[in-house]
Symmetry: D2
Subunit: 264 residues, 4 copies
Amino acid sequence: MCRWLSYIGEPVYLEKLVFEPRHSLVEQSLRAEQAKTPTNGDGFGLGWYDDRKTPGLYREILPAWNDPNLRSLAHHIRSGMFFAHVRASTGTETSRTNCHPFAHDNFLFMHNGQIGNYSLVRRVLEAMVDDEFYAARQGTTDSELIFCLMLTFGLRTDPHRAIRKTIEVVEREMRNRGITVPFRFTACLANGESVCAIRHASDDKSPSLYWRKRDNHVIVVSEPLDAESDSWIAVAPNHTLHVTRDLQICEEPTMVATGCKGAA
Amino acid sequence: MCRWLSYIGEPVYLEKLVFEPRHSLVEQSLRAEQAKTPTNGDGFGLGWYDDRKTPGLYREILPAWNDPNLRSLAHHIRSGMFFAHVRASTGTETSRTNCHPFAHDNFLFMHNGQIGNYSLVRRVLEAMVDDEFYAARQGTTDSELIFCLMLTFGLRTDPHRAIRKTIEVVEREMRNRGITVPFRFTACLANGESVCAIRHASDDKSPSLYWRKRDNHVIVVSEPLDAESDSWIAVAPNHTLHVTRDLQICEEPTMVATGCKGAA
Amino acid sequence: MCRWLSYIGEPVYLEKLVFEPRHSLVEQSLRAEQAKTPTNGDGFGLGWYDDRKTPGLYREILPAWNDPNLRSLAHHIRSGMFFAHVRASTGTETSRTNCHPFAHDNFLFMHNGQIGNYSLVRRVLEAMVDDEFYAARQGTTDSELIFCLMLTFGLRTDPHRAIRKTIEVVEREMRNRGITVPFRFTACLANGESVCAIRHASDDKSPSLYWRKRDNHVIVVSEPLDAESDSWIAVAPNHTLHVTRDLQICEEPTMVATGCKGAA
Amino acid sequence: MCRWLSYIGEPVYLEKLVFEPRHSLVEQSLRAEQAKTPTNGDGFGLGWYDDRKTPGLYREILPAWNDPNLRSLAHHIRSGMFFAHVRASTGTETSRTNCHPFAHDNFLFMHNGQIGNYSLVRRVLEAMVDDEFYAARQGTTDSELIFCLMLTFGLRTDPHRAIRKTIEVVEREMRNRGITVPFRFTACLANGESVCAIRHASDDKSPSLYWRKRDNHVIVVSEPLDAESDSWIAVAPNHTLHVTRDLQICEEPTMVATGCKGAA
């Protein structure tokens, strides 16, 4: 299990969220409160959008609390849409290519959760990945595989269909192999224009997911960054939250989501 | 603060203590129970004696729970006298040269504790270090500096005098600068023939220190490796424990210690 | 391309070959002379047999010339059969799981060479790997994939058939996709009892491979460790060298090798 | 010995110099042409000025050619004044705190060269460092020590006097100890407003140093980034080059430099 945050709004220095809050993401790398494991020390990553066509990426295998580069980068990099993630491995190696976020073209993806008994379905799921994304895969995690499946199922053209189909396929293949360990999937996707955060589980224990809107930004997080607990709103289980560049927000049941066309 | 263990006895594979016990040192790197901080993820180290003149050393900046090399080395390296240490930095960088144990000639040293307000006395203490050990110093921690002072004050010829003098000098220089933050010093020294473990503090809160003797070995630890709590004996505050290759044990007040000549 | 060495004989400290020769493997990590690239700084690894059932493994992403742990381990670890490897990546990430040697049960494998246009055949070759070895695969290199294929094709029961079949399959799949970049494959396998070194290429430029026998040991290397050049014997292209624990040696054409039954 | 570059001018993405030129700095990390050693693989660093009060810093112990984070950061970070450095250690550990550039307040410093027989003068030189900079010192290199001396001797108020005094003091202390190995010192300093590059040696073999001015920028380098060799101008031995934000340039003998007041 992992902890992550996503920011959309007026450009800010990344440290504003990564270091400064009382219960910042770096603090959560040492002492998460709503996670299965309090320590998220198996690497971390940043992904951010700026003037370039593809997002920036900084991933490291040290714990986030222990990396002086992270402190300097978070002080100097400013962005209006960024991801940050601290990792607690569920079995795969601590290498940079296994750290989140993952990037492909203009997409960023990060994840908290896991495919139950991953080794039993890894092979069949990998076989479904399109050649283009199979060749681009760099690591070995279930998270990156899920991202490859979403890309395969049309993330570029119909993201909601791609997300639904990925969830359906993963759960079907798990069922086909008699896996009873649940699929837990609380994830975040961005394309540079909008962010979409999914809270899903095949049982009734989906990992926590919150958001907060202020005048000029929205933050989506695994767990609140501060104690103002009534300012944070929980995303409902099996729902997806959409946030656009102009801070339009809507929440829909994941399996019937349309991207809130006409909503907000 | 940190966690450490020391073993003296029949040669065993290091994993026997580093990985296998319910509350092994690697488990303590994630969830220490008697330490100021539960997470000891700022690097780790092994030091061991074998047929070579100087001890082996393996130090790494990753958390101990996250290093596949450690697992293989602990499975393959066997020793009758070894140290293992997991680090929680009190401010200095996470680099290999700042990880314990430290080695010089046939000596190994590791430490849990800190010099209060280190930056105020670092300079004056470094000025006391003999040229030989000054040149050999590789890192920047207070722990390595304490080791250099012990070497300077005669560790090779009269270890107990060297330990006492080091404690006296550190506490005097702290007093001279009006430092009221305490000096906490629970440390372990070996020369290949015997091990000596010191539990000291300038106030009444010396870090925990335990030992256990079985038929063919003695283990000295920051905190017990298992729940058989009545089998672990606490070293008294401000006392030093001596353990020889043939498992003779004695405990003396540190400031009058003689190495238990004629004891046991 | 990479550089490697293998030792079989009286147990010696690893440093004897890894550090001490004039043109030691660590020297070759900086200045290889017969390799496509002089610098082999993309990680390294050690694998060694001792009293344990499976070989020890130490792999690191730093250049070999730059790792103080390697110096200490090579000074303290003694073995009568070991591998050492310095890596020059041909495209995949510098992570520990991509460093050689690779280990499975009692087998060690390391490699210098590459599958031409690997990304075009990776997928079809991965699909041939048995579930057991597919699940055990940790990295993403062509080298590890070749090892998985050999295991799939019966390395445990008939190693020569497994090697032949792997070469045939790789070359067939490359041909099927019209790949004209050659398959270069100079590799070393051990099972704890004997070592087998293969010099193969699909064109006439197989990477260099040498061996030398002395009274109590045999060394197999990518390039000589010293300037006594007439003491090193080149393995013929497309031949396999066998060396047993009792230093029996034979060389056969790889595609008809039988393991030198009755030979020597 | 090391390789470095400095850029002053219109803001550009760092990759423009770090990766793109035929003989870019990353290329020089593998194959330097005018250095004592062709391989500069013992870590690297970036320092850059932007809207923040202090410069950004990214330092890593991997070789520069081997770090995917460097590629992404150099693609996304844009600056009008930045340093980049690839390191070949002259003895001290490969840790991040030993990598260049070094930063203090608004200053950046990087260096190619070494104090001959450093261990003989390290102690006396360290004793001269002001408490403020002594406490801020993080690593153990001679380069960082030289930076601390310049800060001690008034870098903030009279940089040329500070540079001169540092050179004088280092050479005097070397002479006092009978050191005949030369002092080689080709270094670069910036304060956010201007850059000053020093080419100095106590013998007649000062490391190479070049610059080139184009319409909207100046580049200062250890060795040319491309083969247009007549476009690169060598700084004379024992001279200092000054470059201001508005691209005023002047060169003076280091030991009588005034910062080109009224020059250009």
